[in-house]
């Protein structure tokens, strides 16, 4: 028969074990396997990351790296800068994910980080509008090589015109046309309103038309 202190200790240990088992029995994102995370919703990945799982962030990167890279590429028009920027976006996201409130989609929040990162970068670095690599990806089997050259020149002109748009118009155009975000998502990403987003989109197209008309 245990002594009084021993009984107290035994009770204490039973309670402690019960607490630990109860915790283990709950669905904790920190105890999921990476295979589970691969199919997890973004919100579950964020929760798992906040619980200390770095591999949850790996899944987030795999899931969103292409769209983030594409958005960055649209800002700088070259692969090296786009990959550096996209990496910066995810490093910032890693540091700031604790502040992500979950009231918007994770993709929208990442676009917001990406737009801010890109605008900061292009503000100090002149955008490159022509890239040799881009030409190497063109299908040279086009029926008429001259058409192909003209099409490339026109595409360069459009990229150059987009690069000259004011920051908010540029970001709005890219998110709407290339990332196919809704106006509401763009408003969230740019910390703006739907009305302002539509007005910026209108002005972006108008400015683009004027620049292309004179080029």
């Amino acid at each position: 028969m245990p002594s009084g202190a021993g009984a107290i200790r035994a009770t204490w240990q039973v309670q402690a074990l019960g607490t630990e088992r109860a915790a283990a029995g709950t669905v904790s994102p920190g105890r999921s396997t990476p295979a589970d995370l691969a199919d997890a919703q973004d919100a579950a990945l964020v929760a798992a990351f906040r619980a200390g799982r770095r591999d949850a962030f790996d899944v987030i990167v795999v899931r969103h790296r292409r769209s983030v890279y594409q958005l960055c590429y649209r800002f700088v028009n070259n692969h090296e800068d786009a990959s550096d920027l996209a990496q910066d976006v995810f490093v910032r996201a890693f540091k700031g994910l604790a502040r992500f409130k979950g009231d918007a989609a994770l993709a929208t929040w990442l676009y917001r980080v990406a737009v801010n990162t890109c605008l900061n970068r292009v503000a100090v670095k002149k955008p490159q509008t022509t890239e040799l690599d881009a030409a190497s990806h063109v299908d040279n089997r086009a029926p008429n090589p001259l058409d192909d050259v003209l099409r490339l020149e026109r595409a360069d002109a459009v990229r150059a015109a987009i690069a000259k748009l004011p920051p908010k118009q540029r970001a709005t155009l890219m998110l709407r046309v290339y990332q196919e975000c809704s106006h509401e998502e763009i408003a969230t990403a740019l910390n703006s309103t739907v009305g302002a987003v539509k007005a910026n989109f209108f002005h972006a197209l108008g400015n683009l038309r004027r620049m292309l008309g004179t080029s």
Binding site: S3, G4, A5, I8, W12, Q15, A16, T19, E20, A23, F49, R50, G52, R53, R54, F57, D58, V61, V62, R65, R66, Y69, Q70, Y73, R74, H79, S83, A86, Q87, F90, V91, F94, K95, L97, A98, R99, E131, D133, A134, S136, H137, R154, A155, V158, R159, I162, L173, V177, Y178, H183, K198, A199, F201, F202, H203, L205, G206, L208, R209, L212
Partner: protein, 182 residues
Amino acid sequence: MSEHLRHEEFVDALEQSLAPERQAHLDHCADCQASIAELSDTLQEARSVDMPEPSPLFWDHFSDRVRAATAAEPVATPWWRPQGWLRPVAVAAVVAAAVLVAIYRPAPTPDVESTSDVVAFEAPVDDGSWGLVIGLASELDVADVREVVKPVEGTADSMIAELTAAQRQALAKLLKEEIGEQ
């Protein structure tokens, strides 16, 4: 004729989501139709600008780069969740708060006769600090508390913990007699 489309309405018209009453204006306004046509052409041109797709090998390399860049960074935990050094500090704060409450608990006034041997606990005035204490306490688990409040070997707490039930009753009786004599 009603007024021309506003900027936002041009965008709605481009995206086939213009309100019916404004669509009626657009159907009869050559100026607005011309503007829509120009905007539509520009939009098509912007859409036609494709971008080169990186090599499939790039993506794994990219993930490796991100992983390497974040390797030295601590996982960003929300500020309200105690972590690292904050955890034992939170435990100590809760224990200290409990000790302070016990020490500064108001003594029963002599002219009020107690109807029970058990002194009723008086909740302190809620000044918000209890919310903090409760919040910290909710983050603790049994192991944390046991680690902090564990009786130190050789102290009175430790000795009392080793007593049997009968010995404790005897000790309690002695203490009551001692208190009663004062």
